[in-house]
């Protein structure tokens, strides 16, 4: 039984890495621009079609197609910020959020028109032997997901701690007005934050594609869990998003194994209410104190 539980937990961590990657992107965009990006999953999905077309029609190797999808996602995120949201900088925040909702529906519709709604299979991304850890087994896909989460988590931490651009983004998060007056090109850094955030969504989407197949709504469930992971982590904390995603993956996998997959979403949201009741600012969030 213990071994079975550990296997479930391990698979859950791998699944949770997709939620964590999605949540990291959401938090990165939210921290920089204060906008909750409801098009986050759809933008990752749209970039996945780039990888799909390159692999299925042009037989491009997976790694190259993956890289192309990330570039496409970065450009998509940066353009959405620079073209649409920058113009709405002084508009009510709700207007900006509604733009992302509209974009979500637009992208799913456009991809549906272009590629149809039938799932299109994506082959396994890497061909390595499963990793055996004692009695536990990790699929190659799981290894790739966890490894990428680890690498990107470390890279993001280094980016924010040790680069001028990362420090600039943290300054924008804290005080956009002062950041601009300190010589930080706020528009450019916001575009970079959006581009990077959407690229993280694309990492999750491309990695999920062999399991979900490529469809316009392939990210709908993952992005909802990404939101939950970000909230559990204390929306705003990158570390919280990462840990929240991994915890959520284990929880979802346990529900799938011991109850029923159809109940997972309902139970997860029930647990979310409980977590927020006990810790309103999430596990890693800090209470918002306003001095008067």
């Amino acid at each position: 039984m213990t071994q079975f539980l550990l296997q479930i937990a391990l698979a859950g961590l791998a699944q949770g890495s997709l939620f964590a990657l999605t949540a990291l992107g959401l938090v990165m965009i939210y921290n920089a621009s204060s906008v909750v990006n409801f098009a986050h999953g759809a933008m990752g999905m749209a970039a996945t079609y780039v990888a799909y077309v390159l692999i299925a029609r042009f037989e491009v190797p997976f790694a190259l197609a993956f890289a192309a999808a990330l570039v496409a996602a970065f450009v998509l995120g940066a353009v959405v910020q620079a073209v649409f949201l920058a113009r709405l900088r002084n508009a009510p925040l709700l207007s900006q959020v509604v733009v992302t909702l509209g974009l979500f529906m637009l992208l799913e519709g456009l991809m549906g028109i272009a590629f149809g709604y039938n799932p299109r299979p994506m082959r396994e991304s890497i061909a390595i032997a499963p990793v055996i850890l004692g009695d536990l087994v990790l699929r190659p896909q799981d290894v790739l997901q966890l490894a990428l989460l680890l690498i990107l988590g470390v890279a993001l931490a280094a980016f924010f701690a040790a680069t001028k651009v990362g420090l600039g983004m943290r300054a924008i998060t804290e005080n956009t007005y002062a950041a601009r007056l300190m010589g930080i090109p706020v528009g450019r850094l916001l575009a970079i934050a959006w581009g990077t955030g959407v690229a993280l969504s694309a990492v999750a989407a491309v990695l999920a594609a062999p399991t979900t197949s490529v469809t316009p709504n392939m990210m709908d469930t993952i992005v909802v869990y990404g939101f939950v992971a970000a909230i559990v982590g204390g929306f705003g904390s990158m570390a919280g998003a990462l840990v929240g995603g991994l915890i959520l993956g284990v929880v979802v996998n346990l529900i799938d194994a011991f109850l029923a997959p159809e109940l997972a979403m309902s139970i997860v949201f029930g647990l979310l209410l409980l977590v927020l009741y006990v810790r309103p600012d999430g596990l890693f969030g800090r209470a918002q104190v306003q001095k008067v």
Partner: protein, 258 residues
Amino acid sequence: MLEARGVTVRFGGLVAVNALDLDVPDRGIFALVGPNGAGKTTLINALSRVCPVAGGTVRLGDVDVLSLPPHAAVSAGIARSFQRAELFPSLTVLENLLVGLHSTMQTGLSGALMTPASRTEEQAARARAERVLRDLDLWEVRNAAPADMPYGHQKLLDVARALVSEPALLLLDEPFAGLTEAEAPRLLACIRAAGERCAVLMIEHHFELLEGIAQRMTVMDFGQKVSEGTPASMRTDPEVIRCYLGTGRHRTAAASAC
């Protein structure tokens, strides 16, 4: 030198700064004084590109300041502090200063890779930040978050962040407001030193303090220049007495620092 001609700032129907001319030489301490609502902070905001200017020209050396986007003002040599400290509350004191050096640093993403160029640049930036923090007695709290510091320290940090970029024109908006008697002398010494390297244009209400450090002062009222000259000449100027000085006085922490 700074050369402003006919600077006008409007907020709807209100003319906050009205066709104001101002010359500030390359070095020295210059003051903007006047009653509340005179347009002093609005003028500083216009010079630092915070608010749009309806008319006039501003040149700093060869640079047409009004053609710059706000974030380019620092690169052009203009740094400022704020009436209420505008800090990055969760970043450390040291990081706040490094943000102030953002426009002077060349290496971007390569910082994370610790390339020799980025290491050298970061060491130089940290050395500059350390020098300014030591001058203002803030080095001991370099790893603290401003949100956890007393207000006087926050004001000092706000000025330190402007100083660290080694600007050609340093704009200070009531830098002594909220400082204790122990903190004011440190800031005064820093401003005196800065005035030997660059032009300092400072809004300040403590006339006695300005008499000790300012070469010249411009008195504003209702968005216009009322008078201009040495502090001694302003003290006896009937227009300045009418609109600003009045007849009463009180000493403050900042005045005691002189």
